[in-house]
Amino acid sequence: MTSVLARPHGRHPGGAPRRRLVVVGNGMAGARAVEEILARGGAGQFSITMFGDEPYGNYNRIMLSHVLSGEESDADIFLNALSWYRENSITLHAGVRVDRIDKPTKHVFSNDGRVTPYDTLIIATGSRSHMPPMDGLYTPGGSLKHGIFGFRTIDDTRRMVQHAQQDQHRRAVVIGGGLLGLEAAYGLKSHGIEVEVVHSGGHLMNAQMGPDGGAVLRRSVEALGIGVHTSSRTTAVLGTDKVTGVSLRDRDNIACDMVVVAAGIRPNVDIAVLSGLPVERAIVVDDQLRVQDEDHIYAVGECVQHRGEVYGLVAPLWEQAVVLANHVTGADTSSVYLGSRTATKLKVAGVDVASMGLHGPELETDEHIVFSESGRGVFKSIVVRDNKMVGATLLGDSRKVAYLTQAFDRGLPLPEERIALLFDVGGPGGEAGVAELDDGAQVCNCNGVSKGALVAAVMGGCASVSGAMDATRAGKGCGSCKLLVRQVVEWAADGAVEEDPAASYYVPGIPLDKAALMAAIRAQDLRSVSQVFAALAPGSAEDAKSKMGLASLLKMMLADRYIDERDARFINDRVHANIQRDGTFSVVPQMKGGVTSVQQLRRIADVAEKHNVPLIKLTGGQRIDLLGIPKEDLPQVWADLDMPSGYAYGKSFRTVKTCVGKDFCRYGTGDSTSLGIQIESRFQGIEAPAKLKLAVSGCPRNCAESLVKDVGVVAVEGGRWEVYVGGAAGAHIRKGDLLATVDDPEEVTVLTGRFMQYYRERANWLERTYAFVPRVGIGHLRAVIVEDAEGIAAQLDAAMQASVDSYVDPWSERDDPQTPGQFRTSLPLTVLPQVPVR
C-alpha cells in the first residue's frame, strides 16, 4: 500500500534499530493504544504493523447507532483515516485476519498467507455479537439466514439500513432489550419500520437498572412506537430462505421481515486460545495489561479480562490504553490499571437514560433515594453506602448526570440533604456545578476527555465550544456530553467564550448573520460575490464554501442588478444540469405540473435516441430525466429539446406536482392541474436558500402529496383551497402546517409567493422550509403572511415580482457560452464509477 511496507526492519534515521510492534485488531482499543504509544515517542522505538479484520481504518463503533438512525453518515465516523496510518508510518493490513500466534518464534500468521515477526505484540480483537441458541438462525450452508443481522460493525449497519429501506420490508424484531437492542430498535424505527423488541429479562435494560426504572423506561420506549415483549424468549426464526417471523416461548409468533440479534457480545478470543494464551471469559491480563505469564504480549479492550472483569464499553479501554502504552514504551513503568467504574448512557433521541454502579440497595445499611414521575417518564434512583454514592439510575432528566458521575467515580462526600443529589434545590445552578467538578473529572466518556483537558484547550486559545471540541475530541463520541462540554468551556473562558462563531453566519466565510449581511450589502451597494468578499470578509479572503450561498443571496436581493460572476456558482449552476457520480450530467426539461404532450414526448424521445442517452427515467417530481449526458453535449441536447430547464439541479424553485383534479377525477373538487401549472409558470427557477418543491392536490385524498411539500395546496369542498407550508418527505418527514384556507386560486398564488419571499429573505442558507417553518412558528407566519401584521406584505409581493420578472431560461445560454470553455469536459478520462446503462 505504501512505501513503509517495505521496511519492517528499517532503522530510524540516526537512531537505534527499531523494535517490531504488531497489533492484532484495528478497532477502538487497538488504534487508541497505538495513539497513546505514539504520544510517548513510540514512533522512534517501534516500526508498527496493524492487522484489522475489517477493511477500513479505525472508526467510532459507538456512532453506529447514529448511523443506523440516520443522524450521522457512515463516512463521518472515522477516527483514523487511512492517511493517519501513512503519516505515522504504520503499516496497516486492513481486511486481513490474524489466525494464529507462534509464541516461541514470535510470529503472527494471517489469512493472506503472510508471516509477520514481532518483538512486542498487542491483542485488541474486541468482541462480536452473540447469537443465542435458537432454531432457524443459519442456512444449511452455515451462514446467517437472509434478513438476520448482528449489530457490531459498519458493514452490519450498512446492510441493515439497506434491508430496512426496501419497500417490502415493513416489520422488524430486535432480540434483546439492553442498550444495544434499544438503540437498534430506535434506529430501525427511524426508517419507518415497525419494530418489536423481544427481551428475555423481566424488564428492559435489566443489566443497568432495577424493575421500577425498567417500567418507566418501557413506557418511554413504547411512546416511540416500539413494541416491547419482556420475559419472553425467542425460540426460532421462521422462514426458509428469508425471514418471515419469530416464534416465542409461550406466546404467539411475530411476523417480520428482519431480525436483529442484540443479545450480548462475546470476546474474540479464538486466536488466543489457539495460540496457548490464558483465556477464561476473555484473555487474562495483569495490572500492566500484559497477558498473564507473557513478557512480550499485551491485550487491551473488550477482549481482555482484568481482575475478573470483562468490559463492554469504551471508557475502560481509554484507561487501559494509557497504562499499556506506559509499559510498552517504558515511559512509566510504575503505571498500573486497577479496573474501571463504568457509567452507561442510552443513545436514543428523546429517551435520556444514564446508569452507573448498583441498581438498588444490597446491604441493610444502604440508603436508597428514589423519585418516580412515570407520567413524564422521569425516574431517579440513587444508592448510597457509607456516605458515598455506589449506584444511580437516571431516566428522562439528565441534568444531574455530570455531577453524579463524578461523585460516583471519585467517591466524593455527598450533601446531607440527599434530595440535592436528584435536583438543583435552589442551590447553585449549572455553572457552579461545573466549577465544582475537579480537573480530573471525565466530561466526555466516549473519548476520555477530562475537565482539565478542556480547560487547558480553552487556556491554549480555543475559546469557542467547537474549537475546544476539535482540539480535545470531547463531544465527538456519542454526543451526549455536549451540553456539559459547553458549560465547561463557558466556565473556563470566564464569560469570554466566542459564541460558536460560524453557527449564526449565513455563510462560513463572512462573520455576519443573514439580516446583518443583507443590511451591509445594501448599505455598501455590493453587487457581486467578489465585492462582498472584498468588503466584508476578514482579510478580504475569498471562501470557496461561501460562494454559492452568496451568489444565491445576491441574486435574490438584486434580481437584474446582480453582477453574475460565474466562478461563484456551483458547477450545476454553471452548466444548468446536475453533476453525476461519473462527472456527466442529467438533464430534466420543464414539464409544468407533470403535464406533457405528444410533441414533448416525441421530442424527448428523439433527443434521447440521437444522443444515445444512457438512461431515461421518470423522476419523483413528475417529469423526465435524461441521465448521463457529457458536459460538452449539453448545449446540443438543449438545442434539440428546445424546452425550458426544469431546474432539477439548483437551490431554487423546482417543481409543482399535481394530480388530475376535477376535470377528470370523480372526487376532484378543484382544478389542481391548472393551478399547479399556473404556480410553476410564475415562480420557475427563482433561487432560494434551499430547494422549494410544491404540490397541488384536487381533494383531501392528496394524490400529489401536498401535505409533505414546502408549499402544498389542497382543494377542499366548497371550492376552497388549503395552503400548507413546511412539509417534507425526504431526509426528514414533516407534515406541513396549515397557513390559510382561501376561496380563490389567485389568492393561493399570492400567498405562495409571499411565503416563499419571506422564506428567501429570512431562512438560513440550506435551511429547508421544514426547518424554517417550525423555527419561526406557524403562528408568526400566519400573522405576517396572511394578516400582514408587520405591514410588509406589499414589499414581499413586489420583491417576488422583481425576481419573477428577471427570470431568463438558463438553457437559452446554449448558443452563447458565458465563459470560455463553459461546456468543456472536465471528465477525468480514466475509469470512473460509470452510471450503468439500462
Binding site: 470557496a544 460562494k547 466562478d567 453533476i579 477525468p828 478520462l829
Partner: protein, 129 residues
C-alpha cells in the same frame, strides 16, 4: 479502456522541448478567472486554475476520493472544493483539509505571451509514491 487515455484528447500536450519537461498548454484566456479547466499532459490529467488575482495553480484533475472532476470544483485563493462530495484540497500543496488523500501538484505559470506553462518534473506537495 485505452492504455493511453490521453491519446485521443485534443488538449493532449507534449513537452515544448525534449529535455525540459515543460509544457505549453496554450493561452491563459481559456480559463475564466476563479475557475479551472482540465488538460491532458503526457498521459496525466491536470486541472489548472486561474485565481481571481490572475495567478495559476495546477493539481491532478482527478479527486482521490471517488474520481470527481476537480476542474469543475469551486475555488478560493487557497483551496479547491470537489463538486461531488465537497472534499477540499490546498492548491499550493495538494493536501486535503478534509482528510482525503493528497493531490499531486504541479508548478505552473504564464509566460510572456500569456501562455500556460506547466512544469511536470517539479512536483511539490507531500505526494509520496
Amino acid at each position: 479502456m485505452s492504455t493511453d487515455p490521453m491519446g485521443t484528447d485534443p488538449m493532449g500536450a507534449h513537452p515544448a522541448s525534449a529535455d525540459s519537461a515543460s509544457y505549453n498548454l496554450g493561452p491563459v484566456d481559456q480559463i475564466p478567472f476563479g475557475e479551472g479547466r482540465a488538460f491532458g499532459v503526457e498521459g496525466e490529467q491536470v486541472a489548472v486554475f486561474r485565481l481571481r488575482d490572475g495567478s495559476l495553480r495546477a493539481v491532478s484533475a482527478v479527486c482521490p476520493h471517488r474520481g470527481g472532476p476537480l476542474a469543475d470544483g469551486t475555488i478560493d485563493r487557497l483551496v479547491v472544493v470537489c463538486p461531488l462530495h465537497q472534499h477540499a484540497f490546498e492548491l499550493e500543496t495538494g493536501c486535503s483539509t478534509t482528510g482525503a488523500e493528497p493531490l499531486r501538484t504541479y508548478a505552473v505559470q504564464a509566460d510572456g505571451e500569456q501562455n500556460i506553462i506547466l512544469l511536470s518534473s517539479q512536483r511539490v506537495g507531500n505526494y509520496s509514491a
